[in-house]
C-alpha cells in the first residue's frame, strides 16, 4: 500500500514538474516574443522621434547670448605737456543673437546689442555718432540693431543677402576679441556696422581652394533732412549753411569687393577693396574755419587690405599640440582719400595715401587646457584712415592708430565651463598724429605725442 502511495506520488510529482517546465518554457517564449515586439516598437518610436526632431529643429528661431562685463583702466599721457589723465570704466555689453533656417537655402541672422557704461550719461554722446557704430561703442542701455540680414543660397553656388550685415569683429580681430568665428570683412580696414546688399560667388566661380568673392553695395548716410518723416513733411535735402554759401548734402554710399583668395584650413588669404562715395570733408570757401563748410560731400575714400592667417604650425612638427594650436597672422593695408576740386579731405586738396602693417600671434598658454596668449603689433602712417570706427575698444580704434600700437592678452575659461570665459588684455598705443575716430574727413591729422594705455579685465558668458 505504502509502495503504491509512493509510486503514485512520484508519478504526480514528475507530471507536475514536467507541466511546470512546459509552463515556464511557454512563459519564457511569450516573454521573449513580447520583448522583441517592444524592441520593434521602441525602434519605430525612436525613428519617428528623430523625424520630428529633424523637422522641428529648424522650425524655430534660435536665440543665443553673449554677455560681457569689463573694467578698463585707462591712462592717457600727453608727452608734450606732460599731463596725464586716468579713468577706470566699468561697462556691460550684451548681444542677443537670433538665427533661423527654415530650409537649407534660407538663413536669417540678427543681433541686438547693448553697450552700456556703468553710471554713464546716455544722450550726451558725440553728435557725430552714426548708426554704423551705434551698438559697438559703449553708450547707453538701449537695445540697438547690430545685425539683421537674410541669406539666400541659389543652386548655382551664388548667395544673395541684404540688411544690416555682419561687419564688425572681422577677420583677424576675432583673436583679440576672443570670438571663435570671424565675420567676413577684413578688420584691418573695415570695422563698422554696414547696411548693404551682397552677392557672393562660391568656389565654382573663383576656382582656388576655399575661395569666394563678395560684392557689396550699401549706404552710410542719407541726405534727406528728417528722412524718417519723409512722408509726413516735404522732405528736402539737408543744406549746410556757411557764412557766405550753402552746400547741398549728398548720400554717402559704400561699395566694394572682398573675399577668400585661398583657404585650405591652414593658410587663409583674404583681400578687400572698398570705397566710400561722397565721403565727408570740407568745402573750401576761403580756407577759414568760419566760412568753409565742414561735413560736405567732398570726394571718395578707398581702402585696400591683404591679410594672411596661418592656423596651426604643425607643418613644422606634426606631433606638437603646441604648434598645432598656434596661429600667426600678418596684414598690409592702404587708404586713399581723393577730394574733388574745391574740396579738401584730411586737410588737403590733394590725394592723400596712408598705409599700415599688422602682425600677431596666438598660442597655447601651457598652463591650462584651453587658455591662449596673444600678442599684436600694428603701425600706421600720418594719413592712414581706415573705416574702423566701430572697433571693440574703449580707447577707440587701435587699428586706426597713426603711430604704433602693441597689445598682449590672455584668453581663458573659468572653471571647466566653456560658457564662461575671461580675458586680461593690455594695450599701449602711441599716437604720432591725431586719430580719426568718427569719419571726420575734414580734420587734418596734426602732429602729437600722446601715449594711451589700457588694462582690461573682462568676464563673458556665452550661451
Amino acid at each position: 500500500m505504502f509502495k503504491k502511495i509512493i509510486k503514485l506520488s512520484t508519478i504526480a510529482i514528475l507530471a507536475t514538474s514536467a507541466y511546470s517546465a512546459d509552463t515556464n518554457n511557454d512563459r519564457l517564449n511569450k516573454l521573449e516574443k513580447k520583448i522583441l515586439k517592444l524592441e520593434k516598437k521602441l525602434s519605430k518610436t525612436n525613428k519617428k522621434l528623430n523625424q520630428v526632431k529633424a523637422h522641428d529643429a529648424y522650425d524655430n528661431v534660435k536665440f543665443s547670448i553673449d554677455f560681457r562685463n569689463s573694467v578698463d583702466f585707462i591712462t592717457i599721457k600727453d608727452n608734450n605737456t606732460n599731463t596725464t589723465e586716468t579713468n577706470d570704466i566699468l561697462s556691460t555689453r550684451l548681444y542677443l543673437d537670433m538665427a533661423s533656417s527654415p530650409t537649407d537655402k534660407i538663413v536669417f541672422r540678427g543681433k541686438f546689442g547693448i553697450n552700456n557704461v556703468w553710471g554713464g550719461h546716455p544722450g550726451t554722446g558725440d553728435s557725430s555718432f552714426k548708426s554704423w557704430q551705434a551698438s559697438s561703442k559703449a553708450d547707453n542701455n538701449e537695445f540697438k540693431l547690430k545685425e539683421a540680414y537674410i541669406l539666400y543660397t541659389a543652386d548655382n553656388d551664388m548667395t544673395y543677402s541684404a540688411g544690416r550685415r555682419q561687419s564688425t569683429g572681422g577677420f583677424l580681430a576675432n583673436h583679440r576679441t576672443n570670438t571663435k568665428e570671424a565675420t567676413s570683412p577684413l578688420s584691418h580696414v573695415t570695422n563698422m556696422e554696414i547696411d548693404a546688399m551682397m552677392i557672393m560667388f562660391g568656389e565654382s566661380f573663383t576656382k582656388a581652394e576655399g575661395s569666394f568673392l563678395k560684392i557689396l553695395y550699401g549706404r552710410a548716410h542719407d541726405p534727406v533732412h528728417g528722412v524718417n518723416k519723409m512722408y509726413a513733411e516735404d522732405g528736402t535735402l539737408k543744406t549746410f549753411t556757411g557764412a557766405t554759401t550753402t552746400e547741398k548734402d549728398k548720400e554717402v554710399n559704400i561699395a566694394g569687393i572682398l573675399g577668400n583668395i585661398y583657404d585650405n584650413g591652414t593658410y587663409k588669404l583674404m583681400g578687400q577693396r572698398m570705397m566710400i562715395i561722397n565721403t565727408k570733408g570740407r568745402k573750401i570757401v576761403d580756407g577759414t574755419n568760419a566760412n568753409d563748410i565742414k561735413s560736405a560731400p567732398a570726394g571718395n575714400a578707398c581702402v585696400t587690405a591683404l591679410s594672411l592667417e596661418v592656423n596651426g604650425l604643425d607643418m613644422i612638427n606634426e606631433d606638437s599640440d603646441f604648434l598645432a594650436d598656434t596661429i600667426v597672422f600678418a596684414s598690409i593695408a592702404s587708404t586713399q582719400y581723393k577730394p574733388k576740386d574745391g574740396y579738401s579731405l584730411l586737410g588737403s586738396t590733394e590725394n592723400k595715401s596712408g598705409s599700415s602693417i599688422w602682425i600677431g600671434a596666438k598660442f597655447p598658454d601651457m598652463m591650462t587646457s584651453s587658455g591662449k596668449f596673444g600678442i599684436e603689433y600694428n603701425k600706421g602712417s600720418q594719413y592712414w584712415t581706415p573705416f574702423t570706427w566701430a572697433e571693440d575698444n574703449m580707447l577707440g580704434s587701435k587699428i586706426a592708430v597713426r603711430g604704433h600700437a602693441t597689445e598682449i592678452y590672455w584668453n581663458g575659461i573659468i572653471g571647466n565651463n566653456k560658457n564662461l570665459t575671461t580675458q586680461i588684455k593690455y594695450q599701449n598705443i602711441q599716437h604720432d598724429y591725431t586719430p580719426n575716430q568718427n569719419c571726420q574727413g575734414w580734420v587734418k591729422p596734426e602732429s602729437v605725442d600722446i601715449t594711451a594705455s589700457n588694462l582690461t579685465f573682462s568676464i563673458r558668458y556665452i550661451y
Partner: protein
C-alpha cells in the same frame, strides 16, 4: 576701488588657472576637418554632419573613425588619429541633421 577691482579680477584668473581640464571642442573639430579631411572627402564638414541625427552620431561615437572612412574612403589614416576623434565627434554632433544649429555664414 582701482586696486580692489584689479584684485577681484586677478582672483578670477587664478581660479581659471587652477581648474581647467582638457575637453573636446566643436570649433576645433571644424578646423581639424577643414585641414585634414575636407579636400579628401570633397564635401564640407556640415554635409557630413547632416548625414546622421544626433542620436545616430552618439551611437557611432566609438567607431567614428570607421564611419568617417566609410563616408570618405579617400581619408588618410593620419587624419583619423585618436586624438582628433573627440573634436570631430563634437563638431558632427553639433551640426547633425536634427540639431537645429544654423551654420555660420
Amino acid at each position: 576701488m582701482n586696486k580692489l577691482l584689479k584684485l577681484a579680477f586677478i582672483s578670477v584668473v587664478a581660479f581659471s588657472l587652477a581648474t581647467t581640464v582638457a575637453s573636446a571642442d566643436s570649433a576645433k573639430g571644424k578646423k581639424l576637418y577643414q585641414k585634414k579631411l575636407k579636400k579628401d572627402c570633397g564635401m564640407t564638414g556640415g554635409d557630413i554632419a547632416k548625414k546622421h541625427s544626433q542620436d545616430e552620431w552618439e551611437g557611432l561615437k566609438d567607431g567614428l573613425a570607421n564611419e568617417i572612412k566609410s563616408i570618405c574612403p579617400s581619408a588618410k589614416d593620419k587624419a583619423l588619429k585618436g586624438k582628433y576623434m573627440g573634436h570631430y565627434y563634437d563638431f558632427f554632433y553639433e551640426f547633425a541633421n536634427d540639431s537645429g544649429n544654423v551654420p555660420s555664414c
